[in-house]
Symmetry: none
Subunit: 244 residues, 2 copies
DNA sequence: GTGGTCCAATGGTCCAACCAATTTCTGCAT
DNA sequence: ATGCAGAAATTGGTTGGACCATTGGACCAC
């Protein structure tokens, strides 16, 4: 017997049902992000459930960033909803903590390499031209400002994720990038943070233009490795300075 | 008199305060994942807030995957908590269609390979023994039930993610695993789905036990490749059957 | 042991208020 | 009419109390 043939019975799932009904409502009314959805009291009455249950459901959506509640005003849609959304709550310990940054880099290393390889496989001529444009902008910003510009750098990488044909790359890395950003602004005392990664942007591009997935993957790995080195240097420096 | 002994009345953000207090409690008691935390009624009484407020707070933690509630039993810690956790709730508009599943597989391929490699680098003897145990259970389930058991298979992979030392692997892949589960409920007519992946579980383990990161990475890639093939076969079959 | 029954503990839901922030309306002075 | 301060209505946030459904252990008869 296959235990999968006996799915666990589910007698109650009130708040889940509320959310499902709410998805249906949003679609039926074609609600756009920013619009207000019915008050908790109305929802409770219409769905024939307690207001508490409605609140628990909305609390879940609020935690997922799908909705925003304003006391005295109402509850507002914050993002598009669809019947089969995939929720990926990521939690990592510590903010500027070295370990968590290193952990995000391990994830990014895996995804960046894969995205670069896929990009090299799938890029059209137009895609390659677009990436070249972002690369030029980044390189020019690097020369005029004499240092890595996180803004233009990010644009370049995003172009690669987009061309990879898989939107998940951009979304996942974007979530972690946000975390990285605050720290990027004021690096850990490493003056030329990210400097070493500069040349690899062009080598990645050249591999993509040459339709060389393995090369693109290798160059992406080298790029992340330089960032990891910078991070380790910064951590060592920080450790020294905190030893009074 | 110590003014710290006066519980400051925050007019707003009650449930946030509850979570902060809960973080303090978990650290003070050194609660490990899997352990039970106080009942809602006790928390409400101790923190001098309503039980509903406690519930809203716990609902948020449940949504973040930090905690699991079992009716009639209690609320259990599911992950380590720290005062300065960073949450990145990421919701993706997915679907049960072939394309979405393929996209999640591309992400999983990247992460699975990296996790296997890191695991091979970092595994202690105890870790290796634990993975061997999960592997045995899985192989036995395979033989007795003559087919891949998603439950035991998942346990094996989770063990690898855990040993990798980076909780993000488990978190991200777990979210995508959930999506796959839905799909498994509605099988695409491929009877022996996942069958081909079976032998690679042992080869991955052997590479890990031999502390061979590159080998582990290669075997993990082969495993994912078999799943991709199964998926493609299922999609082709579905396409045929839908052509009336 | 095995299988039942009972019972206390616990999360899930409900109700009916009241509080706090916000928005809307009202009415008066200009 | 206009502007604006204050009242009133609206809405999310909180409270306390009650009951239901599930769980898991204790106890008992067989």
């Amino acid at each position: 017997m296959d235990q999968n043939s006996l799915p666990p019975i589910q007698t109650t799932a009130r708040d889940d049902a509320v959310l499902k009904a709410l998805v249906g409502f949003v679609r039926a009314e074609a609600l756009q992000p920013g619009e207000r959805l019915p008050t908790e009291r109305i929802l409770a009455e219409r769905l024939k459930v307690s207001r508490n249950t409605v609140r628990e459901a909305l609390t879940r959506w609020e935690g997922l960033g799908l909705v925003e509640r304003r006391q005295g005003s109402g509850t507002y849609l914050k993002a598009a909803v669809s019947p089969d959304m995939l929720h990926m709550p990521l939690t990592l310990a510590g903010g500027n903590d070295f370990t968590s940054l290193m952990q995000t880099l391990e994830i990014r290393r895996a995804l960046e390499a894969e995205a670069a390889a896929l990009c090299a496989e799938r890029a059209s001529q137009a895609d390659i031209a677009e990436i070249a444009r972002k690369l030029d902008i980044m390189e020019q910003a690097f020369r005029t400002r004499e240092g890595m510009s996180s803004e233009e750098d990010w644009e370049f990488h995003q172009a690669i994720y987009r061309v990879s044909g898989n939107p998940l790359f951009e979304q996942i890395i974007a979530a972690m990038h946000e975390l990285f950003h605050r720290f990027w602004e004021h690096p850990l005392g490493v003056r030329d943070f990210g400097h070493a990664s500069f040349p690899y942007h062009r080598t990645i591009y050249e591999c993509i233009a040459a339709r060389d997935p393995q090369g693109a993957r290798a160059e992406a790995l080298k790029l992340i490795a330089t960032v990891e080195d910078d991070l380790k240097r910064g951590a060592a420096k920080l450790k020294l300075s905190s030893q009074t």
